[in-house]
């Protein structure tokens, strides 16, 4: 075709004109690390499983949790959910109730008896796990899934560790613990209960084990000497909780119980005492509320149930039916005594001053080193100085929570697997964080957090029924959909809609989008209007 003078294009569509040549920067779809995932001690991919739950695919969501944590129903109750503290939505209105959704999914799985996903083919390797607490169970689960033969040994008559003998029933019903443990046993894990392992190298050699994961926890109560006319009136918190759980003779607490300490265990004991009929449950703590290590929600609930707290106080001595406390004063160096005493009524004193690790079984193991504060020294792979012996949970230096323990179990399992295969495990590099500044919160409508139902107060003070109720199908879906999907595309079509040049190609459900670089002028509107900050603008190479 002969074109007129100065005309270089055939008549027709503007699509001959590749405006992409104007571009100095281009949009790139990225995945960023949401704050919930970044802070989860168990390494859960929370944003991902919420994404699955949002479409009502609860089974897939639950299986996504299980990839990192085999105890969702327990975790949804007993975890202190650092994810919700970090949640970007907390700065918009209120954090997503992640724990409530996790609990809903965990309960749904128990209700429908969903099994864990199948295990890999057997590797022929044997692993000994010592301690059937959250860390040991998590390690056993992951090792079994990877195809290894796992034996768990625990000194107690029932499995669960602190999930059973530490956390009271009103926070964590035992049928939930039983159901989640049974699912792990069903993978073919051997559970040997009532067996205390004192000679570790001997046990490993006798059983022909190729590796060992020890997670016996910290269950030795720390004690102090106090002048008291009758030593039987001083109990230790963890021993008390264990005794109540074992259902033996209910310890004589008396009507007025004083608990000494400021951690979660102190609150657990005080709340338990109220449920066992104590008229007064008083916590004595030597610092102020701001320093209290116990979780804020736990304290609030304890106060609701009538537990009293004496801040800035220490126990000086026990009398006959009373306890003398000394007032403290906060200084920059910590609390100091004031010399001012007060006598309060008290039949029993329960010491909740922390727990120590029983290091006896490890003392004689060659190569194993200990920290000065009585924990086991481990490397980045959670391995001790003794090759093939790994440790995790409350035994090693870390925050002592159930979630950290489960995270250690997963991490140890991956390193043990690599150890057994003669390789090393290197976790995938982490994405850059998905900060609130990258989000465009305009596109998220206001939606208030769903409140979990609570047991009425009379029953919270007299029974061990669970305090918090669960979400139902509709409220769980609502809550899941409050997730902002920080840093990860949720297919809202904004980029596809806001491009003035039709240069975003929609690939279809689950496939996301692609930029048509022939026409993208690099204006940046798609990145700016992306609600979740999943598009970066990067400079073109010139």
């Amino acid at each position: 075709m002969k074109l007129p003078f100065a005309i270089t294009l055939d008549p027709g569509s503007s699509r001959h004109n590749h405006t992409g040549a104007w571009r100095t920067q281009r949009p790139v779809y990225v995945d960023r690390l949401p704050p919930c995932n970044a802070t989860c001690p168990a390494g859960e991919n929370i944003q991902h499983w919420l994404f699955l739950a949002e479409s009502g695919d609860y089974r897939a969501a639950w299986e996504a949790i299980l990839a990192d944590n085999p105890l969702p129903a327990v975790m949804g109750r007993a975890c202190y959910h650092t994810c919700e503290t970090a949640c970007n939505r907390a700065k918009v209105d209120e954090a997503v109730g992640i724990h409530a959704i996790e609990r809903f999914l965990g309960d749904l799985a128990i209700e429908h008896k969903w099994p864990a996903p199948p295990c890999a083919p057997a590797t022929g390797k044997k692993v000994l796990v010592i301690g059937a607490g959250p860390s040991g169970l998590a390690a056993a689960y992951h090792l079994a899934r990877l195809g290894h033969a796992v034996t768990i040994r625990d000194a107690m008559p029932r499995a669960g560790g602190m999930m059973r003998y530490g956390i009271p029933r009103y926070r964590l019903p035992r049928e939930i613990v039983d159901a989640e443990i049974q699912r792990i046993v069903d993978l073919g894990v051997t559970l040997e209960l009532g067996v205390r392992v004192d000679d570790l190298p001997g046990a490993i050699a006798a059983g022909g084990f190729d590796a060992c994961f020890a997670a016996v926890g910290a269950h030795l109560a720390k004690r102090i000497d106090l002048p008291a006319p009758d030593a039987t009136r001083i109990l230790d918190a963890i021993g008390l909780l264990r005794e109540i759980e074992q259902g033996g003779v209910a310890p004589l607490l008396g009507r007025r119980v004083v608990v000494y300490g400021g951690g979660n265990t102190a609150l657990d004991v005080a709340r338990t005492a109220r449920r066992m009929g104590a008229a007064d449950a008083v916590i004595v703590y030597r610092r102020t509320q701001a320093e209290m290590p116990a979780h804020e929600d736990e304290l609030r609930e304890a106060l609701e149930e009538g537990v009293q707290v004496r801040w800035l106080s220490t126990v000086a001595s026990l009398g006959d039916g009373d306890i003398t406390i000394e007032k403290m004063r906060m200084t920059l160096a910590g609390p100091v005594p004031t010399g001012e005493f007060e006598t309060i009524a008290g039949d029993t004193l329960v010491l909740a001053l922390g727990q120590a690790v029983d290091l006896a079984p490890l003392r004689a193991v060659p190569g194993v080193a200990f920290t000065r504060d009585g924990s086991v020294e481990v490397d980045g792979a959670l391995m001790t100085g003794h090759p093939g012996l790994f440790c995790g949970g409350d035994m090693v230096p870390a925050e002592r929570t159930i979630t950290v323990a489960v995270g250690h179990g997963k991490k140890a399992a991956r390193h043990i697997d690599a150890y057994l295969r003669g390789t090393t495990y290197a976790p995938a590099p982490k994405h850059a964080p998905a900060t609130l500044e990258r989000l465009n919160p305009w596109y998220y409508s206001d939606a208030e957090r769903t409140v979990q139902p609570q047991l009425e107060m009379a029953r919270r003070q007299g029974t061990f029924e669970e305090v918090h109720g669960g979400l139902d199908t509709s409220t769980a879906l609502f809550e899941a959909r409050r997730c902002l999907s920080c840093g990860n595309c949720f297919e809202c079509d904004n980029c596809f809609g806001v491009c003035p040049d039709n240069a975003v190609i929609k690939l279809g459900p689950g496939l996301g989008f692609r930029i048509d670089l022939d026409f993208c002028k690099g204006c940046g509107l798609c990145a700016k209007e992306c609600p979740c900050g999943a598009i970066d603008m990067i400079a073109e190479q010139t």
Partner: protein, 332 residues
């Protein structure tokens, strides 16, 4: 618990689409089957609000009319950047004649379709220059005769194509090539200009609406509503211009949003000359938040003290909010 009303959340109506929404609740723009009436390769500047607005309007109108649509265009950016002969970015029958006669030509096209017995609908469109200044005579005639045309004005508040000159839609204090930021009263002066939506209402049109490119669902609903009515209709769409307004190319939608959220650009619908509904402000901002992002208002902020004319602009915004009931929960 169970009676909790599910209002809105991640799947809310503010995004273009969403995998969790029923397809009928998603915007036309979320569909790969959208007409793309204005396709790629056009020569609009980066981040052009008008290119975006025109595609939003025409795609929605194409869906509403089953693709039985002809567009008539006034001279302006929209005509120049889409159709440099011999190529065009339009994917629908499209006609351009003169700067000032788009409304009259559209009247003729509508009459021709009626004579030929074809159920084809007509949209006339232009920028604020072609609508509020140069084409106003023809437009008023089309309104007054109640011809079956939807006239869409893409308002970027100036003659951007010819080098950012003032139009009768340029806001007070804005700097343009013909209202420079110099002299005793810098930028465009107060007390000038006109509101075409209000003038259209004065013609007793069956449907008048305003919208912005920042609220796609609102815009598409108004186009769909307009195409369901016969007679003369008017739609006024605010389309920010990165070049003429002096904001970054990725802020086009944000500027349109701020214009509506501060109250300077009221978003409403009017039927038979009466305002029947307005889109409430969701998160009200002071006009300063809107003005600061644009270089055309930079001279308001370069002195040691705030320019008193910012307060006058705020008064205009406050007046709009009262007049169009943009914050119904606030009682004066």
């Amino acid at each position: 618990m169970s009676d909790q009303r599910i209002r809105f959340y991640q799947t809310g109506t503010f995004t273009v689409g969403n995998r969790l929404l029923d397809p009928s609740d998603r915007a036309v723009q979320a569909s790969t089957a959208r007409a793309n009436a204005l396709t790629s390769g056009h020569r609009a500047c980066q981040g052009c609000g008008e290119a975006l607005g025109a595609r939003y309007v025409l795609d929605a109108a194409m869906r509403a009319t089953g693709n039985q649509l002809i567009a008539v265009n006034a001279t302006g950016c929209l005509e120049v950047f889409t159709t440099p002969s011999p190529e065009t970015a339009w994917q629908l029958p499209w006609l351009h004649s003169l700067f000032g006669n788009a409304a009259a030509v559209a009247t003729g096209v509508a009459a021709a379709m009626r004579v030929k017995g074809k159920p084809v609908r007509v949209i006339a469109q232009g920028g604020d220059g072609g609508t509020t200044d140069i084409g106003f005579g023809c437009l008023s005639g089309m309104f007054e005769r109640n011809d079956d045309v939807l006239y869409v004005c893409y308002d970027n508040e100036g003659y951007m194509n010819t080098g950012v000159q003032r139009s009768s839609a340029t806001p007070p204090t804005a700097r343009t090539a013909t209202t420079p930021a110099m002299g005793p009263e810098r930028g465009n002066v107060f007390g000038t200009g006109k509101s075409l939506p209000l003038l259209a209402m004065a013609h007793n049109l069956p449907y008048v609406a305003t919208a912005t490119v920042a609220d796609l669902h609102d815009l598409e609903a108004k186009v769909t509503c307009a195409m369901g009515i016969h007679g003369a209709r008017y739609l006024h769409v605010l389309v920010p211009c990165p070049l003429g307004w002096g904001h970054p190319t990725d802020e086009t939608i944000r500027m349109a949003r701020l214009a509506a959220e501060c109250g300077l650009f009221p978003v409403f619908e009017a039927v038979d000359g009466e305002v029947v509904s307005s889109t409430p402000i969701r998160r009200r901002v002071p006009v300063e938040a809107y003005l600061r992002g644009q270089k055309r208002f930079a001279h308001l902020f370069d002195g040691p003290t705030p320019d008193p004319r910012i307060a006058r602009l705020q008064a205009l915004a406050d007046q709009n909010i009262r007049r169009f009931r943009l914050q119904p929960e606030v009682t004066p």
